[in-house]
């Protein structure tokens, strides 16, 4: 097991990180329009 990486979906990771950034950006846009 030494040196083996746990399995995960690279696509899911990319989507999750992008979603966090997009949500934060949308929240910023919403705060500027109120």
């Amino acid at each position: 097991m030494a040196g083996q990486r746990p399995p995960y979906s690279r696509l899911a990771l990319l989507i999750t990180v992008a979603a966090v950034v997009v949500l934060v950006a949308l929240d910023y846009l919403a705060s500027t329009t109120t």
Partner: protein, 403 residues
């Protein structure tokens, strides 16, 4: 040292690789995401907020690499009478008290001083119970989510839900009887406050050691010496707990000096949940809590200018990068998610979220920052949070969770 899995949720992953391979994909994605978000904070906020964001990142790295889990530290003592994790926390509180109280007394920052009442007792008890079922505390939930743990994502979502519910009920709870804020450092003068706190913390550490020695015949030491080369350990993890204590103390002090208030976590969850409901068309300003000046301002403004949110986001990315450097991203997701396990995550998250609002913070905002500020509510949080954890530990087997 406790393994990462023990620090997170006591599950049975103990196969810490002897020579971790850096996962460049995770490190790269985490670094790019962190840089983009940092750029947004720079544009919208201020250099001060960027510093706090980076401090949050450093806290994420330190928590992950040192496997500094408050939850597992308490459980290890409750179940196995092993006190190393708990003693590391007491050392952290002692060091933070020595550094924080003079800064606060000198007027350089505000302390985490909160009123004392039945809501602190109930809130901390619920939090302590919830953190054993949820599998992590305020900081623990964040850093394990950042490290790719699927189950902890469920805990986090429930945590956010419980936080919002807590904000709706907090005004009612505050109408109950209470003592108001009790600042030990102000009551005893700063030096007296520091001496009292450090004496009590050291006495507690001595008692914990005595209990461990009585059960096991020896006491596990807190060591500064890593198992491998120090520079390799610094990057790829497996830090001795004392490295975690030093890093958390230093970064906690920087937070206090730069933000003007001690480190907090769970207010960010309440804001995120309230913003989500607001986006769905629910007018949160109709609720008393969200009409109070600070929450109302936080709800209206971007999370990019909110200190707690910025630090929590930094912590998430810091833990992700640290998990990539350790080659163990997603390692906490190895165990199958079943209905009982998911139920425990939801109940634990809800209890923690609700409890943190009632208790004016979580293990960071109330326990760490409260005690380090010399606030009595931090000590009450400790006592009743620990009682809640004893109940939570007893409940874990009913949800198919090991101890």
């Amino acid at each position: 040292m406790s393994t990462l899995a023990e620090a997170i949720n006591g599950e049975t992953i103990r196969d810490q690789p002897s020579r971790p391979r850096i996962d460049r994909f995770v490190v790269g994605v985490g670094a790019i995401g962190a840089l983009v978000l940092g750029g947004l904070i720079w544009q919208v906020g201020s250099p001060r907020l960027v510093w706090l964001y980076m401090i949050g990142g450093g806290l994420g790295v330190a928590l992950y690499h040192a496997a500094f889990g408050f939850t597992a530290g308490w459980r290890n003592f409750i179940v196995h009478r092993r006190s190393r994790g708990l003693r590391a926390q007491l050392l952290l509180l002692s060091a933070a008290s020595v550094l924080f109280i003079p800064v606060i007394a000198g007027g350089y920052a505000n302390g985490a001083i909160a009123p004392v009442g039945g809501y602190i007792v109930l809130g901390s008890f619920l939090f302590g119970l919830g953190m054993q079922l949820g599998g992590g505390c305020g900081s623990g939930t964040l850093f394990t989510v950042g490290a790719g743990n699927r189950r902890m994502l469920i805990t986090l979502i429930a945590f956010i839900g419980g936080s919002v519910l807590g904000t709706l009920h907090l005004p009612w709870w505050l109408d109950g009887p209470g003592l108001g804020p009790v600042d030990l450092a102000a009551s005893l003068d700063p030096l007296g406050g520091v001496l009292l706190q450090v004496s009590v913390l050291l006495a507690l550490a001595w008692v914990l050691s005595a209990v461990e020695r009585d059960r096991h015949g020896h006491v596990e030491k807190l060591s500064l010496r890593p198992e491998g080369r120090w520079w390799q350990t610094l990057i790829t993890g497996g830090w001795p707990l004392l490295w975690g204590v030093i890093a958390l103390t230093g970064l906690g002090l920087l937070t206090l000096l730069i933000s003007g208030a001690p480190w907090g976590v769970t207010f960010a969850f309440a804001i995120w949940g309230a913003k989500a409901l607001d986006a769905l068309g629910i007018d949160m300003s109709q609720f008393t809590y969200w009409s109070w000046p600070y929450p109302a301002q936080a709800l209206e403004q971007s999370v990019l200018v909110n200190v707690t949110s910025v630090m929590a986001l930094g912590l998430l990315f810091g833990a992700m990068i640290a998990a990539g450097l350790a080659g163990r991203f997603n390692a906490g997701s190895q165990n199958r998610l079943g209905p009982r396990n998911i139920s425990a995550a939801v109940i634990g998250g809800l209890c923690m979220g609700y409890g943190a609002r009632l208790a004016f913070g979580c293990n960071i905002g109330a326990f760490f920052s409260g005690i380090a500020s010399g606030s009595l509510h931090g000590w009450i949080w400790f006592a009743f949070g620990f009682l809640g954890s004893i109940v939570g530990v007893a409940l874990r087997p009913r949800f198919g969770m090991g101890n």
